[in-house]
Amino acid sequence: MKPLSRTKRRIYLIFFALVFVVSLPLVILYARGYRLTLSEALKFGRTGGFYIAATQSGAEIYIDSKLVKKTGIFQKNVLVQNLKPGSYDIKVVKDGFHTWTKTLSVFSETVTEAHPFMLPENPELVEVPPYLSDSGMPTSTPPKASLINTLRNPEYIQAAALFSVASSKETALKSGTSTEILGIQRKLSVENRDGRLYIEWLGKSADIPSYFCQYEQCKSSITLAGLSAVKVFDFYPGRGDLLIIAVSDGIYVAEMDDRSAQNIQPLFPGKNLDFRIDGDVIFIKQAKRMYFLSL
């Protein structure tokens, strides 16, 4: 039996070389977001997409009312490609959670990122009672006056200590400025100017978070609309783009992203509320009662 003939090998080589030469530009164009469109005339059209990073499994992601993905335990993110440049309504829905909606634009060859957040409609708040019973169980019933110091709940003391420390805003006020500065996280500064929050990017312009930008036009500051008379605020644990805010009628979580109306979801309704964050735990104080919310 003879080896593969030279002619046959040459034909193979020419064939594969041709496939390479023809397919490579097509593959590159495809990777860049070009798609063949059949409407009007057969032509290549430039497309873009969304990258939606949902935080919940079992959530349904809709684009212009069309379901594009139901998130799973391992795959909570979705890349939606082949979208013509334009404006799209995104909605993320899950039973028992607040719905997140956003209107965002798709630009050609570009992926527009969205980072939805969804708070539970009825978050599980656990009260931290101030005392311990004789058997050592936490209780709200005060013990006899003689035992009041020995039967204090250490968790309550710990939580109360968080509230006893003057928050940074108070420090700022005491130092005589008219601006309340909470702090800087991920090179973002958030200032409370007369009850309204202003967010500013302090880092390099190349590293600016995507929600400051529409395509290649980026601004350096964002105003949090929708909530006024902000009393206390902080970054939501684990997220640099969300703020947790106490106003006169409750505690809310709001996104900074103002590419369209900012999503604001209620966390805990009520008056005279204050909160502090310790790690992943949010402590909420109402008068003398203390609660924690585990995320």
């Binding site: 039996m1 080896p3 593969l4 090998r9 193979y12 080589l13 594969f16 496939v19 390479f20 397919s23 490579l24 593959v27 590159i28 495809y30 990777a31 860049r32 977001g33 497309t47 873009g48 997409g49 990258y51 890349l79 490609q81 060859e109 570009t110 992926v111 527009t112 990122e113 190349a206 590293d207 600016i208 995507s210």
Partner: protein, 510 residues
């Protein structure tokens, strides 16, 4: 002056030369490592400063890799058919109409500290081959530095088997000969010369009638190897202008070897099978055969370097000014797959063996130097061979690393701006999908691998056969860890002049 008479015909490394030649040879030693490292560093720099260009480059490499896999698979498939055909042919019948009784086979089996059982298995396999044993001479080439025990093994084998062959010789290669490197090349060259003096000349056997088979000590020849070889020798247009290359199988201990070792061994077999269909790219590798006349003319194998198996081809190629080639036999010989008492040791041995094989890159400076010096080699031949050899070592060391490790680099290093592009999102997905399609070729690999397996030993369960199929998913790992990295290791050593010594693969049998 004939090239073989020049002082640089048997150069081992730059330091063997003087003056400008030494500088030139050293520069050529640096070249392969320089090209590979430049490629990898450029890929990293492009990922940082021009991520879009880097992404295009990686996509091009992905597509190229996929098409190359398909292209080579066609060669593999054809060679598979050809080996099966050659194994089914009655070579004795093929030779019956030819005069071949004058053809004499000289088999050289070099060994170091291998066990008696390993040496004996090879001798027995020679006895089982179909060829007049009176027309065969076996030379057991032992190293003096291996010690008394090794020499005793040679004597014991001689006592048992000498009379069964026309001639039998045990040669003891002296240790520490000035100008020699301890290794297979110096040992078999000594053995060949001893055989000339003690067998060929006294028996007046013409050198032109002698075919030398330089085997490894674990090489087991299939039944009709010498008949098949003789047929190819006699039907070659000029048998003194060719070497003969069998396909190395690693079946001796394949049922005992772990999956990782089987995949590394199988990959080596497949590579050789593909090359058998592309003979212009083939150089001799491991066990090979060549006429004694040709060997004698160039003074046998080089004694001062590691890759004597391929270097002998290049010696002959440049000595004959490019008028020399390899005849692919498409007939197997079997050797040992790597096997050590522990998996970790086996993996270390595979790595070292692969590094020794990829140390064949030491032929690049030799070839390029010869191409510069020997103008008698046609210019087109020089250009083609240089490109093929350079591309071979370059792609071996860089392509798997770029595809499997650096394919994600633009996404990691490209910055926010690049990360917002569809291209950035598509790059890893595209690379992954193209690789999955390329991996479909592994189905063919596993079918071929199974078709050549020896019978399953009774002590191995049916699951062992299943693992012979599933093992191929290790390819992305082995191609990087036992392909590209030892390749890059070897090139880097050559680049910095940290020359590799000869490392004998331990032959362990369970």
């Amino acid at each position: 002056m004939s090239y073989k008479l020049t002082p640089y015909f048997k150069v081992g490394r730059a330091s063997d030369l003087q003056g400008k030649d030494r500088v030139l040879y050293r520069a050529l030693e640096i070249l392969p490592g320089f090209l590979s490292w430049t490629t990898l560093i450029t890929a990293v720099l492009l990922s940082i400063f021009a991520p879009v260009t880097a992404a295009y480059f990686i996509i091009a490499l992905d597509v190229y890799w996929l098409l190359k896999t398909a292209y080579l698979s066609l060669h593999l498939r054809h060679n598979w058919k050809r080996i099966r055909y050659n194994l089914s042919v009655n070579w004795s019948e093929m030779l019956s109409k030819m005069k071949y009784e004058h053809i004499f086979h000289l088999v050289i089996l070099p060994y170091y500290k291998e066990d008696l059982a390993v040496v004996e298995q090879s001798i027995r396999s020679l006895l089982e081959t179909e060829y007049d044993k009176k027309k065969m001479a076996v030379v057991l080439a032992v190293e003096e530095r291996a010690g008394e025990k090794a020499i005793e093994i040679g004597k014991a084998i001689e006592g048992r088997y000498a009379k069964k062959f026309g001639h039998f010789l045990v040669t003891v290669h002296p240790a520490d000969v000035p100008g020699e490197m301890a290794g297979k090349g110096s040992n078999i060259s000594y053995a060949a010369e001893e055989a000339r003096k003690k067998i060929l000349d006294p028996s007046r056997i013409p050198y032109k009638d002698v075919i030398v088979s330089a085997f490894d000590v674990d090489t087991v020849a299939y039944e009709q190897y010498f008949l098949c070889l003789t047929w190819h020798f006699l039907t070659s247009a000029d048998p003194y202008k060719v070497s003969f290359q069998p396909v190395p199988f690693y079946n001796n201990n394949i049922w005992q070897a772990p999956a990782i070792s089987r995949v590394a061994a199988g990959s080596s077999t497949f590579w050789q099978m593909m090359q058998q269909e592309r003979p212009e790219k083939l150089a001799t590798f491991s066990s090979h055969s060549v006429s004694f006349q040709s060997l004698y003319e160039v003074g046998y194998w080089q004694k001062n370097m590691v890759s004597e198996d391929s270097r002998i081809f290049w010696n002959l190629f440049v000595a004959r000014s490019g008028d020399y080639s390899v005849v692919p036999l498409s007939y197997p010989v079997s050797m040992d797959a790597n096997l050590a008492p522990s998996l970790w040791q086996t993996m270390k041995n595979i790595y070292r063996q692969q590094r020794r094989w990829t140390w064949g890159v030491e032929n690049i400076p030799y070839i390029l130097f010869a191409f510069i010096k020997n103008k008698a080699i046609p210019f087109c031949t020089r250009l083609r061979v240089a490109f093929v050899q350079m591309e071979g070592f370059w792609s071996l060391a860089t392509n798997p690393i770029m595809i499997f490790l650096l394919g994600w680099l633009p996404v990691i290093l490209g910055g926010e701006r690049f990360n917002k592009t569809i291209l950035s999102y598509n790059l890893p997905v595209l690379t992954r999908n193209i690789m999955i399609v390329a991996m479909l070729g592994l189905v063919l690999s596993s079918v071929i691998f199974i078709s050549f397996l020896p019978e399953r030993p009774k002590e191995r369960g049916k699951l062992a056969k299943l693992s012979m199929v599933l093992q191929w998913i290790l390819i992305p790992f082995t191609i990087v860890v036992f392909g590209a990295i030892p390749g890059l290791d070897a090139q880097t050593r050559l680049m910095f002049g940290k020359y590799l010594g000869f490392w004998v693969t331990p032959k362990h049998r369970k």
